[in-house]
């Protein structure tokens, strides 16, 4: 490994220069002594011997100097000198240094933050084998208004092994349960999966085995596969965990496997996995279009394309329709199963906005670089004479290049280090903005890739910034630089124009960024103005899941609710309490078909799914959902023989347009059942279910809780005390009723609603931040260029004033020159904004891309920033004292 030895030698010569020089001196001194001894042995007198030895040896200094040359550190010494020189120059000009370093830091920091998000969500491969071959299967009934429907368990059994395009097919369903005994119950997110789920993803278990077919049957599913995190947290990383059992939902569950630490399933916060168990209906064709399953993930067989898979999927569905008992209905609904790229489908909602924000960040970086190059060139121009003198005195091109690069590298290094810190901090702030709730958002962090990116960006910035300065320094004519002309003359028309272009570019870019930020902000405001259909004031909600062991039958569930409601009302400050399944903004709400009595269905109608949920009587009063006609549900409705329900306005308008819905009757399912009718007793206002921007949908049906029993529901209270005070008391009240029940996600209703637009709010905040930085950069850039022009032309101004020009005229001249550049920038910015806003049309809501208010505001803000940046230098020009300036030099 001779190169290692050579490298070590080189490093030593640089790092331990002093020690080496001392060693060398000692070595040479020894030599002289040995020489003296030899002469003495040859019979010389001691003094004579020493003198002869010295004479023969010659100048020790020259020898050491030549040795040093041979050591090959001359160029390293040169760098050391250049670094000292540059550091001194930077220290001497703290204003410039601070501006330059801050610019690099801000731009780099902003880009690191955005890159961290984009990398985690869009680019970095998931820790799954050959992720590109994973696909999502999704049923779709577009003509019935249900584009993204879920797959049924029957779908899974039908498709498994029947479609050659898929080497493996699996299904999963996300839910949660209570883990632990009565002393320490905790709610954990879990996923129910089919046996080949992990092999489809290409993940090998770290311990144990996957689930078996037998464990897919209800009752035999008391087994679990743990994530590494859960294994460490709950079982204290017990190496013999396989076979141990733990209570989940009050039932003993046996651990059969543990996942590797690196495992991460994108859509899931699941901490453990259980079999997706089901009753004995498997392949029953009647069950194909039920919503009892979940998303399906499959792996494409080798050599199969997405298009092949889609074609085979379509052919398979066509074949299945032959024995489908509701073939006509689903065909009218436009039934198809889409085969979509796994990751692409998963991040579809955030991809455009992320790319947009990434573009914004790059824009900012570009602006920062342009700004810095501008400042550096101004600086270089001010040092033309210095460089010229040095070149005249013999400094080589290498030296000039080295000096220029070292200075920009020092700036880049300082800015890079600060920028990495900013990025680190920014990524943490992003977490508090809720970015970790984006799909794959939990992967966002300051990791090795981000650190590598910051180092690479720093080096690239150092080089990119150095190039124009090198070009400038080498390009300037020696003679010209040495002449006194450089002060006060009209130096470099070409360079002056280049600087003008920089100003125009900066103003234009910041115009675009500001406009985009404005549009995003206005979109967000439009969204916030949308009424959700209920009030959030004083409402606190949480999710409850009744353990299936202790609440097997309807009676026990109803009894629990009957005890729960008064207990919640007993909390100080709580006025009303209710339970509701599928509470708005808390997650999935069940959907199913309903049939109105005596109304012929239109094509596709039969597949039309309506949200159906259960609530107790005070729910609508708590939420402030208006009663449009009829009456609300009452406590007595829970025990009536004939079932009654409420519908929302959309539902009423759809089935009984122009007539009263009250008293009309409904059937659950695809046909009206005379023996089990549901009577509508009231119509309530529409409510947004998932996000404020959703359209009115197909309508909702509300049933009394006792008729739509479900062990998973939300508790809702209206209280005069803040959520932080009420939430723990709600937890306690539930715990007192049943220590095995944990209330999850206890928070104010407003917090639930706020979470729904995280994907819109954070980009708007980010874009606003970028725009602010961009404005600052544009102001610095404009100010820098104009201020420099003024200082360069002081002599000219002095002459003009001496010849009778008024200060006001001078000021106007410079102000106009600056404003002309700003105006050009605004014009180009207008064009850029037109293109950019068109590109971002998809992520805007309720606002035209070329919104007049946004445009006008952008222009006004920009001018408001740019005018002072032009005015200050112009003022300085007007204050030039001709007698002082003309006497100088």
């Amino acid at each position: 490994m001779s190169w290692i030895r050579r490298l070590r030698f080189r490093l030593r010569t640089v790092l331990r220069k002093g020690a080496l020089d001392a060693e060398m001196a000692e070595e040479l001194r020894e030599h002289v002594e040995l020489l003296t001894e030899r002469y003495a042995r040859d019979g010389m007198a001691p003094e004579e011997a020493l003198l002869t030895a010295r004479r023969r040896f010659g100048g020790a200094d020259q020898i050491s100097e030549r040795c040093r040359d041979e050591r090959g550190t001359r160029w390293m010494d040169g760098i050391g000198r250049a670094v000292r020189l540059a550091a001194r120059a930077l220290r001497k000009n703290p204003g410039f240094t601070a501006t330059a370093v801050a610019t690099v830091a801000l731009c780099l920091g902003a880009n690191l933050v955005i890159f961290a998000v984009a990398d985690a969500v869009l680019f970095r491969p998931l820790p799954l084998a050959d992720e590109a071959r994973l696909v999502t299967l999704m049923n779709s009934y577009p003509l019935a208004g249900d584009v993204r429907a879920t797959n049924s368990i029957a779908n899974y059994y039908d498709r498994r092994g029947s479609i050659p395009a898929f080497s493996s097919v699996s299904i999963y369903k996300e839910t949660y349960l209570t883990v632990g005994g009565a002393d320490h119950p905790s709610r954990v997110d879990i996923a129910l999966i089919s046996p080949e789920f992990f092999s489809t993803l290409g993940v090998r278990l770290a311990k144990g085995r996957p689930f078996t077919e037998a464990e897919m049957i209800d009752g035999a599913d008391g087994v679990a596969i743990l994530t590494d995190g859960f294994w460490r947290g709950y079982f204290n990383a017990d190496p013999n965990v396989i076979g141990r059992s733990f209570p989940s939902n009050g039932r003993a569950t046996t651990v059969v496997g543990v996942l590797p630490a690196a495992f991460h399933f994108p859509s899931s916060r699941a901490q453990l996995y259980r079999p997706l168990a089901h009753g004995p209906y498997g392949l029953n064709p009647w069950m194909r279009h039920t919503a009892n399953g979940g998303p399906m993930v499959a792996r494409l067989a080798p050599g199969t394309t997405l298009a092949d898979a889609q074609a085979q999927m379509d052919a398979f569905n066509a074949l299945q329709l032959k024995d489908d008992p509701i073939a006509k209905i689903v065909t009218e609904g436009g039934y198809c199963t889409k085969v979509l790229p796994f990751r692409g489908d998963f991040i579809r909602a955030v991809r455009p906005i992320l790319l947009l924000v990434e573009c914004g960040a790059l824009c900012l970086l570009l602006m920062g670089l342009v700004n810095l190059v501008n400042l550096l060139l101004i600086r270089a121009n001010g040092r033309v004479r210095e460089v010229a003198v040095r070149r005249a005195l013999g400094a080589g091109r290498g030296h000039i290049i080295l000096d220029s690069v070292v200075e920009t590298f020092l700036i880049a290094l300082g800015g890079g280090a600060l920028g990495a810190l900013l990025g680190y901090w920014g990524i943490r702030v992003l977490g508090s903005l809720g970015v970790d709730r984006l799909p794959l958002g939990e992967l966002i962090g300051f990791n090795g890739r981000i650190a590598a990116a910051s180092v690479a960006a720093t080096v690239a910035a150092g080089l990119l910034l150095g190039l124009p300065v090198i070009g400038f320094n080498l390009g300037s004519r020696l003679a010209g630089g040495l002449q006194a002309e450089s002060y006060g003359g009209t130096s470099g028309r070409r360079i002056g124009r280049a600087r003008g272009v920089f100003v125009v570019a900066q103003v234009a870019l910041s115009f675009v960024l500001l406009m985009c930020a404005g549009l995003l902000g206005m979109s967000l405001m439009r969204i916030l103005e949308i009424p959700p259909g209920f009030t959030t004031d004083g409402i606190v909600a949480g999710k409850v899941s009744l353990p299936d062991q202790s609440y097997k039958d309807a009676k026990s569930q109803v009894e629990f609710v009957e005890r729960l409601l008064p207990a919640l009302r007993g909390i100080p400050g709580v006025e009303l309490s209710a339970i509701k399944s599928g509470l708005p903004f808390t997650g999935i709400i069940p959907e199913g078909p309903f049939t109105a009595e005596g109304r012929a269905p239109r094509p596709g109608d039969a597949m039309l799914l309506h949200q159906h949920s259960a609530a107790t009587s005070d729910y609508w009063r708590i939420m402030g959902i208006p009663l449009i006609e009829g009456r609300l549900l009452e406590d007595s409705d829970e025990t009536r023989k004939d079932v009654v329900c409420l519908v929302d306005q959309t539902f009423a308008r759809r089935y009984w347009p122009g007539a009263s819905a009250v008293g009309c009757r409904l059937g659950i399912g695809l046909s009206f059942d005379k023996d089990h009718p549901i009577t509508v007793v009231g119509v309530v206002g529409d409510v947004k279910q998932h996000e404020l921007t959703e359209d009115s949908g197909t309508g909702s049906v509300y049933l009394p809780y006792s008729f739509l029993l479900h062990p998973v529901f939300s508790i809702v209270v209206r209280s005069s005390l803040p959520a932080a005070v009420v939430a723990p008391m709600m937890q306690k009240a539930v715990h007192q009723l049943d220590p095995l029940i944990v209330v999850a996600d206890l928070r104010s209703m407003q917090a639930y609603v706020d979470e729904s637009f995280v994907a819109r709010r954070s980009p708007a905040i980010l874009a606003g931040t970028f725009a602010a930085i961009a404005l600052l950069l544009a102001a610095i850039g404009t100010f820098g260029v104009l201020g420099y022009a003024v200082s360069r032309r002081q002599r000219e101004i002095g002459v003009r004033m001496a010849l009778g020009a008024q200060p006001a005229q001078i000021q106007r001249r410079f102000l106009l020159a600056g404003l002309r550049l700003v105006a050009a920038g605004v014009a180009f910015g207008f064009l850029g904004a037109w293109a950019a806003s068109r590109a971002m049309q998809g992520v805007l809501f309720g606002i035209h891309p070329m919104n007049g208010v946004a445009l006008a505001t952008t222009a006004v803000i920009l001018v408001a920033i740019a005018v002072p940046a032009c005015l200050l230098p112009a003022r300085r020009a007007a204050n030039v004292d001709p007698s002082t300036v003309l006497r100088a030099e």
Binding site: E23, E27, E30, H31, I63, R66, R68, R71
Partner: protein
């Protein structure tokens, strides 16, 4: 005292060090003795050559004891140095042959 032919100093130093580690003075002495006092290496050439060869990785140095118990910087041959010695030896032989041919036949 004959002047050294340029470029041969490296070869001589490598050859001398091939027999074992030596300090700078010892290298000069050994060359002087082995050449039957025909060659005398100047210190002003010797030390720069040593540093150059160390930078090239042919030799390495270590502080140790000289034969008379004094502290001395001892140079020794590396593996690269050994192969370099072979190369230079061949070059020298080829050059010497060529020169003799010219002297004999011209």
């Amino acid at each position: 005292m004959a002047e050294l032919l340029s470029g041969t100093l490296d070869l001589l130093v490598l050859r001398v060090l091939n027999s074992g580690p030596l300090h700078g003075f010892g290298i000069g002495e050994r060359i002087h003795v082995l050449s039957r006092e025909a060659l005398d290496v100047e210190e002003g050439s010797l030390y720069p050559a040593l540093y150059r060869m160390e930078a090239k990785g042919w030799i390495e140095s270590e502080w140790g004891q000289s034969e008379r118990g004094r502290k001395a910087k001892l140079y020794s041959l590396t593996r690269d140095g050994r192969s370099q010695l072979e190369t230079e030896r061949e070059n020298w032989n080829r050059a010497a042959l060529a020169i003799r041919d010219i002297l004999d036949n011209a």
